[in-house]
């Protein structure tokens, strides 16, 4: 340790056809070791004889060196004599040679066709699992309605606190800034026609019908969906979910339903709050940049916003709440039992959540158009 060890030595002397290699000094993996190619140089002996002299501490590095010499000898058709080496070195070198033969290659890759096939069946399997899971949640919800006392209200309230109240600052900030940005963007066009006041209509309508619900959904997919997946994934890795199942408590009743209900109830409330903050953002731009008084902005906005717009936003956010919670919980329950698996589950929950929100939003756009809402 603190003493300075003698460096590892391998000195080769050629006598006739026989190359005698003397190994000495302290051999340690973490320090520099002689390289066989350099020790040998250009010499082409018929026999290589290995011997130890003044050998101090040694470890696997010496065994590896001896193995390398033996391998070279075998490949070059040269006789190799190791009898003069300590027994443990020879034994370990033999073990290493046997281990190199024993290596079984396991192919974790695969060809393109296999990958495409696996991806296709994977999509089909995921769709089925998603449908199964939605079905299970529905049955579980029906059970909870029949026997409301067995529902985990305390867990549900704790989740509401986590995914609702705790999300107020981030949802507020993003919506306020979205409202502000919408107002600036709207003003660029409307100013050309002297219609600055319609900024109120643009901001109000887009917040209530679209941005409020979508922004809240995306923020909560990143914040809460990922948290659900990571939490359930970790529980699965630690066999906590197995422990529930063997007690006869379905994970969906115990873990998923409280989270699902909490997020479904909190999402519309947060969306309405987001609408208000977005409008405030628009109002700030209108009064400071466009010189529109707040009262005029408010009156103008009321001429275009109807109950149908507000309820359209609320219905959307209810749906987004269900989708984000289902995506998060499903990915958590599907999680592989490893640290990397938990990470992938969280990522996948966010991606699935956002994808579902965008798809659902498009479906709503078509539906509302057809229904004339």
């Amino acid at each position: 340790m603190s003493e300075v060890p003698t460096p590892a030595r391998a000195e080769a002397v050629l006598e006739g056809d026989c190359l005698t290699v003397t190994l000495g000094g302290a051999w340690h993996l973490t320090r520099a070791q002689p390289a066989w190619a350099r020790v040998r140089g250009e010499r082409r002996p018929r026999t290589v004889r290995l011997r130890a002299a003044d050998l101090e501490r040694w470890d696997s590095s010496l065994v590896r060196f001896v193995h390398e010499v033996e391998r070279w000898c075998r490949e070059a058709g040269v006789a190799c004599a190791t009898e003069a080496l300590p027994d443990p070195v020879r034994r370990l070198a033999a073990q290493l040679a046997a281990a190199r033969q024993a290596h079984v290659a396991v192919d974790h890759g695969g060809n393109v066709l296999t990958a495409i096939g696996l991806a296709a069946t994977g999509v089909w399997r995921q769709t089925r699992e998603f449908a199964d899971f939605v079905g299970e949640c529905t049955l579980s919800a029906a059970g909870a309605i029949r026997r409301p006392r067995r529902f985990r209200w305390r867990d549900c309230l704790a989740e509401m606190q986590q995914c609702g109240a705790m999300a107020v600052p981030i949802v507020g900030l993003t919506s306020f800034l979205v409202g502000l940005t919408l107002a600036y963007t709207g003003a660029i066009i409307l100013r050309q026609f002297g219609g600055d006041i319609w900024v109120a209509d643009i901001v109000g309508l887009s917040m209530f019908r679209e941005m409020g619900a979508v922004m809240t959904g995306i923020v909560l997919a990143g914040r809460t969906g990922a948290a659900f997946a990571a939490e359930l994934g970790n529980m699965k890795t630690g066999e906590e979910i197995d422990a529930l199942e063997t007690l006869g408590i379905p994970a969906v009743d115990f873990l998923v339903l409280p989270r699902l209900l909490a997020l479904t109830l909190m999402m519309p409330l947060l969306a309405v709050y987001a609408n208000c903050l977005g409008i405030l953002g628009g109002m700030l731009v209108a009064s400071t940049v466009l010189d529109i008084p707040a009262s005029a902005y408010w009156v103008e906005m009321q001429t275009i916003i109807g109950l149908s717009d507000i309820s359209a936003g609320v219905i959307k956010s209810l749906t987004f709440g269900v989708l984000v919670a289902v995506a998060g919980c499903l990915r958590g329950l599907q999680c592989e039992r490893s640290a990397a698996g938990v990470g992938r589950a969280a990522t996948s929950a966010v991606v699935t959540g956002i994808l579902l929100i965008i798809v659902a939003d498009a479906v709503f756009a078509v539906l509302f158009h057809v229904l004339g809402i």
Binding site: M1, S2, E3, P5, H28, L29, T30, R31, A32, Q33, L55, E56, R57, W58, D59, S60, S61, V63, R64, H67, E68, P86, D87, P88, R91, L92, Q95, L96, A98, A99, R100, A102, H103, V104, A105, V106, H108, E336, R337, S338, A339, A340, G341
Partner: protein, 264 residues
């Protein structure tokens, strides 16, 4: 790997014990778990830390391997103070020992070979091919020859422990710590692991410190044990397990060492 015990190579100047623990006090916040722990382990010994659940075995281990800082006292490896060591010194001393964790703690996103090769990549000047050879040797030593390309999730519990041991042995440490090596293993696999521990000690002369409460392993392997006790917050007995079972003045020690299984 210390070759000195097998083929008479010269040990370095000092004859300091492999591990010397001096008046160690372990605390979590205000709670004192252990106090006044003093013992030494000579090089090449198979040393057990035993005791019932909650007596502080794992706490002691965490303090020995530097995962927790002692409130008082010192741990010395081959005469060098580990507790008071500076950053560089500490990193160097960390390489004198390997640890096999209770759950094996293999990195799940890496193959077995990559797990064993990581310490080699970090600390040795070896090329890729040379590392592969060392990995093959280590896996052969633990009886996993050929299992390089498996992921930890593809191995059984016993194989995972073996792979964890191969990783602990990667840099040929002079000391190996084991945390409950037989936890979660069936008796046959557990006995095989015990045999492997003996075999590796025989081949490499490695000092081994094993935290365990498995009587079968204690009787089969231990040269010497210390027993910790929850109420005493420290060491209540030190010696050879059979001597303690027969003649310890402390009834707790006799009781612990004489339950069924001592003949196993």
């Amino acid at each position: 790997m210390s070759a000195s015990s097998i083929e008479g190579g010269r040990p370095p100047g000092s004859v300091a014990p492999a591990i010397a623990v001096d008046n160690l006090e372990c605390r979590y916040g205000d709670v004192t778990v252990l106090r006044g722990v003093t013992f030494t382990v000579p090089e090449g010994e198979l040393f057990f830390v035993i005791g019932g659940s909650g007596c502080g075995k794992t706490t002691l281990l965490r303090h020995l391997i530097g995962l927790a800082r002692p409130a008082r006292g010192a741990v010395r490896y081959f005469g060098e103070d580990f507790t008071a060591a500076g950053r560089g010194e500490r990193r160097r001393l960390l390489r004198t020992f390997g640890v096999l964790y209770q759950s094996a703690a293999l990195w799940s996103s890496m193959t077995v070979a990559e797990n064993v090769a990581l310490p080699l990549e970090q600390y040795t000047p070896l090329s890729r091919r040379e590392r592969q050879e060392i990995v093959a040797l280590k896996l052969a030593q633990v009886g996993l020859a050929g299992c390089e390309d498996y992921f930890p999730a593809e191995l059984s519990g016993g194989m995972r422990k073996r792979a964890g041991l191969a990783r602990a042995l990667a840099l040929d440490p002079r000391i190996v710590f084991f945390d409950e090596p037989s936890a979660g293993l069936d008796p046959v696999t557990s006995r095989q692991l015990d045999e492997l521990i003996l075999q590796i000690r025989g081949a490499l002369g490695t000092t081994m410190v094993i935290v365990s409460h498995e009587l079968a392993s204690i009787y089969a392997l231990a040269d010497r044990v210390i027993m910790l006790d929850r109420e005493a917050h420290g060491v209540v007995a030190e010696g050879r397990p059979r001597d303690l079972a027969a003649a310890s003045p402390d009834p707790r020690v006799r009781d612990f060492l004489s339950r069924d299984g001592r003949e196993a």
